[in-house]
C-alpha cells in the first residue's frame, strides 16, 4: 500500500499491529481520527498511555486490576475458602458472567506447552501453591477448582497442578464436561458424548 504521507503510513503501521486489524481497516481508523477534533485523538492516546502505565496485576490472583489487590480478592462478599484456577483474564470474565460463582480466582497466564517453551516457571503455579500455604493462618482455602481448557495442554496442566497440590492435602475439583445446555445428542461430537457417558453422574430428584 502506498501512502501520500509518512505520518499516515506510521500511524497505519502501528494500528495494524493490533490483532484482527489489517492495513485497510487501520487506514480507515486513521482517516476517521483526522476528521475528528484534535481532543478526540488526545483522549484516545491518553487513555491508552495511562492504561499501559497504570494498569496493575492483582498481587494475589494476577487478574488485571486498578489496585494492588483486585476487587474480587478484596470483596467482602466473596467466599475466600475456594479458588478457581483459569488460563487467562477473559476466563475470569466468562465465569463472572455466569453469576454462579462467588469464590476467588487464580490466573495462570497460560497452559504448559513445551513446544512453545511454556513451562511451569512461566506460569503462576508456584504463586498458587504459596497462596494456599499462606492461607493456613487466616481465611483457610479449602478447595481448588481447575477450570482449564479441554485441550491436551489444559489436561496436562491440570494433572501437573493436582500433583503439586497433593502434598498440601486440599480438595481439588475440575469443571464438568459434556453436552451443552439446550444441545441435541445427535449433534454432539463423539468424543464429548463418549466422555459424558463415562463420567455420568447420579440423578437425584430431591
Amino acid at each position: 500500500m502506498n501512502f501520500p504521507s509518512k505520518l499516515i503510513e506510521n500511524a497505519v503501521n502501528e494500528i495494524s499491529r493490533l490483532p484482527g486489524i489489517g492495513k485497510k481497516t487501520a487506514l480507515r481508523l486513521v482517516l476517521h481520527l483526522l476528521k475528528q477534533n484534535v481532543p478526540v485523538t488526545e483522549e484516545l492516546s491518553n487513555a491508552l498511555l495511562s492504561l499501559r502505565k497504570e494498569i496493575k496485576y492483582c498481587k494475589k490472583c494476577h487478574n488485571v486490576s486498578d489496585t494492588d489487590i483486585c476487587n474480587i480478592c478484596s470483596g467482602i462478599r466473596r467466599d475466600k475458602s475456594i479458588i478457581c484456577v483459569v488460563e487467562d483474564i477473559p476466563d475470569v470474565l466468562a465465569i463472572e458472567n455466569t453469576a454462579q460463582y462467588t469464590g476467588l480466582y487464580h490466573v495462570l497466564g497460560g497452559v504448559i506447552s513445551p513446544i512453545q517453551g511454556i513451562g511451569p516457571d512461566e506460569l503462576k503455579i508456584e504463586s498458587l501453591i504459596k497462596r494456599i500455604e499462606d492461607s493456613r493462618t487466616e481465611d483457610k482455602i479449602e478447595e481448588v477448582i481447575l477450570a482449564l481448557p479441554a485441550t491436551m495442554e489444559g489436561d496436562t496442566t491440570s494433572f501437573f497442578i493436582t500433583r503439586k497440590l497433593k502434598e498440601l492435602n486440599i480438595k481439588v475439583s475440575t469443571i464438568a464436561r459434556g453436552i451443552p445446555i439446550g444441545g441435541e445428542l445427535e449433534y454432539t461430537d463423539e468424543v464429548t458424548l463418549g466422555r459424558s457417558i463415562l463420567t455420568r453422574v447420579n440423578y437425584s430428584i430431591d
Partner: protein, 368 residues
C-alpha cells in the same frame, strides 16, 4: 462397488478422454510412457482425493495447462455415485459428490475403498519401520475412529515430551514432576495402541498367509513378527528407566513410535533374505489382505488397481496370482501391462468378463 465410466480432462498426459469400464477385469495395455499408470492414478484420485504417485496436485496437470478434471460414475452396491475432482493451479482442490461439494476431503476417504499394488510397494519391506507402521495405522484408522483419535493424541504428547526432554538437556536438569503428565499419557496410549495393533494382526495375518500360500504354491512359510516394547509387563518400569537414555539422546526412546512389523520368510527377515520375486509376492499378498480387510469391514469390494505386477514374478506365480484375483472373491480389477500378448493369453483362459484398452499418447481405444 465398481467404476462405470471415467472422464478426464488435462490430467497428466491425457488432453481429453472418456472410458467405459467392465465391472470385472479391465486390462490397460500400451508401450512405456503411454499413460497406463496415469489412468490408474486418476481412479486413485476419485477414491482418495489424491495421487498415488506424487503428492503435489500441480504436477498432475497436463504440461502448459491451468487445470485438470477427473469425473467418475460409480456404482456402490446399487447406488449411483458421481464424483468430480477439479483442480485449478493455485486454487483449492474441489471434490463434488453427486453435484454437492465435499468440504472435508477426509470425509470422502473410505467411502470408495481402493487398493493399489504398484512396483515401488516393495519399499514397504526395504525401507524403515515408519512406512510399515503407516501401512498398518492407515488400515486401523479407517476401521476404528477411536484408534485414530488415540494415535493423534499420542503424536501430540510425544512432540511435547520431546520438546521438554530437549529443554531438560539444555538446562542439564531432569524435572520429574514436570515430565510426569506426559509420561503417564504416553504409557497409557502406548498400551492401548499396541494392543489394538496386536489384535488387528490376529485378524490380518491369516489372510496374508493364505494369499501368499496361493501365489507361491505353499513353498515358503511367512509370518509377521510384531516387535514392541509396550506389551511387556515391565513396560511402565522400563519407560521410567529409559529416562537417563532420553536425557542423553534428547528424545523419547520408548513407546509405540519404536514399534516395527518384521516380515519373515521361513523364520528369517524377508528384508535381508528374501529374493526380489519373494519380496514382490509378499507385498502383493499384503495388499490383497488389505483388500479382504476392507471388504469385511466396509461390506463392499474395493476397486483393485494392479500396476505392472507381472514384473519380477515367474510364470507359475503370475498364473496363480491371476487365478486368485480373477476368482470372484475380488471385485472390479484394473491391470496395466506393457506386454499385451502376455496379459491376453493369461486372461483369455479365465472365466471372467474382461475388456482390453489400448493406450497410446494419452488416447484410449478398445483393443482385442
Amino acid at each position: 462397488m465398481h467404476l462405470k465410466k471415467i472422464r478426464l480432462q488435462q490430467f497428466k498426459n491425457y488432453p481429453k478422454a472418456e472410458v467405459n469400464f467392465s465391472d470385472e477385469i479391465n486390462c490397460l495395455v500400451g508401450i512405456n510412457g503411454s499413460g497406463k499408470t496415469n489412468l490408474l492414478d486418476a481412479i486413485h484420485y476419485l477414491c482418495l482425493t489424491k495421487s498415488a504417485l506424487n503428492g503435489v496436485d500441480n504436477l498432475n496437470i497436463l504440461h502448459d495447462k491451468e487445470f485438470f478434471t477427473v469425473f467418475g460414475d460409480f456404482d456402490l452396491e446399487g447406488k449411483e455415485i458421481e464424483i468430480r475432482c477439479i483442480f485449478e493451479s493455485g486454487k483449492k482442490k474441489q471434490l463434488l459428490k453427486n453435484g454437492k461439494a465435499v468440504d472435508k476431503m477426509s470425509d470422502h476417504v473410505g467411502l470408495l475403498p481402493v487398493v493399489m499394488i504398484a512396483p515401488d510397494d516393495t519399499d514397504l519391506i526395504k525401507n524403515g519401520s515408519e512406512e510399515r507402521r503407516r501401512f498398518f495405522d492407515n488400515m486401523l484408522c479407517q476401521m476404528n475412529k477411536g484408534y485414530l483419535e488415540n494415535l493423534v493424541r499420542y503424536q501430540h504428547f510425544l512432540k511435547q515430551r520431546n520438546a521438554l526432554v530437549k529443554q531438560f538437556a539444555e538446562k542439564g536438569r531432569w524435572e520429574k514432576t514436570f515430565i510426569e503428565p506426559y509420561d503417564r499419557e504416553i504409557i497409557q496410549l502406548s498400551k492401548h495402541i499396541s494392543s489394538a495393533r496386536l489384535g488387528f494382526l490376529k485378524e490380518y495375518e491369516p489372510l496374508l498367509k493364505k494369499n501368499y500360500g496361493i501365489i507361491s504354491g505353499e513353498q515358503e512359510g511367512i509370518s509377521i513378527a510384531y516387535e514392541t516394547q509396550c506389551l511387556s509387563e515391565s513396560f511402565e518400569v522400563d519407560f521410567g528407566a529409559s529416562a537417563k537414555k532420553d536425557f542423553i539422546l534428547k528424545r523419547t526412546n520408548m513407546g509405540i513410535h519404536k514399534d516395527d512389523f518384521v516380515f519373515e520368510i521361513n523364520g528369517y527377515p524377508i528384508k535381508k533374505f528374501g529374493s526380489q520375486g519373494q519380496q514382490k509376492s509378499f507385498v502383493i499378498a499384503l495388499k490383497l489382505a488389505q483388500f479382504q480387510i476392507f471388504f469385511s469391514h466396509k461390506k463392499t469390494k474395493p476397486i483393485l488397481l494392479l500396476d505392472d505386477i507381472f514384473d519380477k514374478l515367474d510364470d507359475g506365480r503370475i498364473e496363480k496370482l491371476m487365478n486368485l484375483v480373477a476368482a470372484h472373491e475380488f471385485g472390479q480389477l484394473f491391470i496395466t501391462d506393457a506386454r499385451p500378448e502376455r496379459s491376453k493369453s493369461i486372461l483369455q483362459q479365465m472365466d471372467a468378463k474382461s475388456r482390453f484398452f489400448w493406450i497410446e499418447k494419452g488416447q484410449v481405444s478398445d483393443w482385442s
